[in-house]
């Protein structure tokens, strides 16, 4: 509930500092490229950067010392604190990591995305759908689920704009009926 309050706090902070008008998109110089038809080459940069960040996250979680501590804390909080690793530092670090990751994606997507005030609400609903479909705590599940949700949403905007979110929720309900812990989640995390 606290984080719900944070939504309201930060939304109003944005409104306070930046006003309610939509911000024009940032324009780094990127000419159009012909690939059968005109495609903004920035999309390739986005996909490459996204994969790069995903790989970096995977390396951090699986190969570095701090990442292993984080994964151990996911698995069993009490054992980690029993081993003498300070849990509050890990909590703060992981929260900061999550927020920093969000900030990184915001920056990467800035050139193709006009900013306005309501887009975070639409996005977080789809994020919850992705996390539930993919299973909490599983990066691979999040990847597969985000591919599904992203492509389905984008295509149904083309064919049936009003029902785009409805289709996502239908998939969500189907997955929840079939496997309540998400496609890749472990049974512990319900």
């Amino acid at each position: 509930m606290l984080t719900f309050a944070l939504i309201l706090i930060f939304s109003d902070t944005i409104k306070l500092f930046w006003g309610v008008e939509n911000r024009r998109i940032v324009l780094p110089i990127e000419p159009m490229e012909v690939l059968g038809s005109f495609v903004n080459p920035y999309f390739f940069i986005i996909i490459a950067a996204g994969c790069g960040i995903a790989l970096g996250l995977w390396f951090f979680l699986h190969r570095s010392r701090y990442g292993k501590m984080v994964r151990a804390a996911v698995f069993s909080r009490d054992m980690v604190s029993a081993l003498g690793i300070r849990i509050p530092a890990i909590y703060a670090g992981v929260f900061g990591l999550g927020v920093g990751l969000a900030a990184l994606t915001a920056g990467i997507f800035l050139p193709i995305m006009p900013l306005s005030l309501g887009i975070d609400m639409d996005l977080i609903v789809q994020c919850f759908a992705v996390v539930v479909i993919g299973g909490f705590g599983s990066i691979l599940g999040t990847f597969i689920a985000s591919l599904m949700v992203g492509v389905v949403y984008s295509f149904s905007i083309l064919f049936w704009p009003d029902g785009a979110l409805a289709i996502i929720f239908l998939i969500l309900v189907a997955v929840l009926i079939w496997r309540p812990w998400g496609l890749f989640g472990t049974e512990l995390r319900y």
Binding site: M1, L2, T3, F4, L6, I7, F10, S11, F17, V26, L27, I29, L35, G36, S37, F38, V39, I46, G50, A54, V70, Y91, A92, V94, F95, G96, G98, V99, G100, L101, A102, A103, L104, T105, A106, G107, I108, L110, I112, D120, L123, I124, Q126, C127, V130, V131, F136, G137, S138, T142, F143, A145, S146, V149, G150, Y153, S154, F155, I157, L158
Partner: protein
């Protein structure tokens, strides 16, 4: 049936949206996995970061011209600031909630608790 060009564009925009959802959801999933906190404000903080990056880009591009390097510098700066903000939020706001009793691991603050 729309032509191949628009299908291709939709596919690319779908992939880029999927990338954004993936990165955002990874953060959300990580936070929930480690701390059992559902961070509702994740996308709002994302939006704050976007506005921050936009502002930095405006400032820096007035100094150095608008190029990809300036964008990267403003992204790095905004990410650093948001990381510190996230740590601060956890330390000062969320940490106080741990001591309260959380029935069934879902920390919804009810007036009676």
């Amino acid at each position: 049936m729309p032509d191949f060009g628009s299908l291709l564009i939709q596919l690319f925009s779908g992939f880029s949206r999927a990338m954004m959802l993936f990165l955002l959801s990874s953060g959300l999933s990580l936070i929930f996995g480690v701390m059992n906190i559902l961070n509702f404000a994740h996308a709002t903080l994302w939006l704050l970061a976007a506005y921050l990056t936009y502002t930095f880009f405006q400032i820096f591009s007035r100094l150095w011209g608008s190029e990809a390097l300036v964008l990267m510098a403003s992204i790095v700066l905004a990410t650093g600031i948001m990381f510190l903000l996230g740590v601060a939020i956890e330390r000062f706001l969320i940490r106080r909630m741990y001591s309260r009793s959380c029935p069934n691991n879902s920390c919804l603050l009810s007036p009676s608790s």
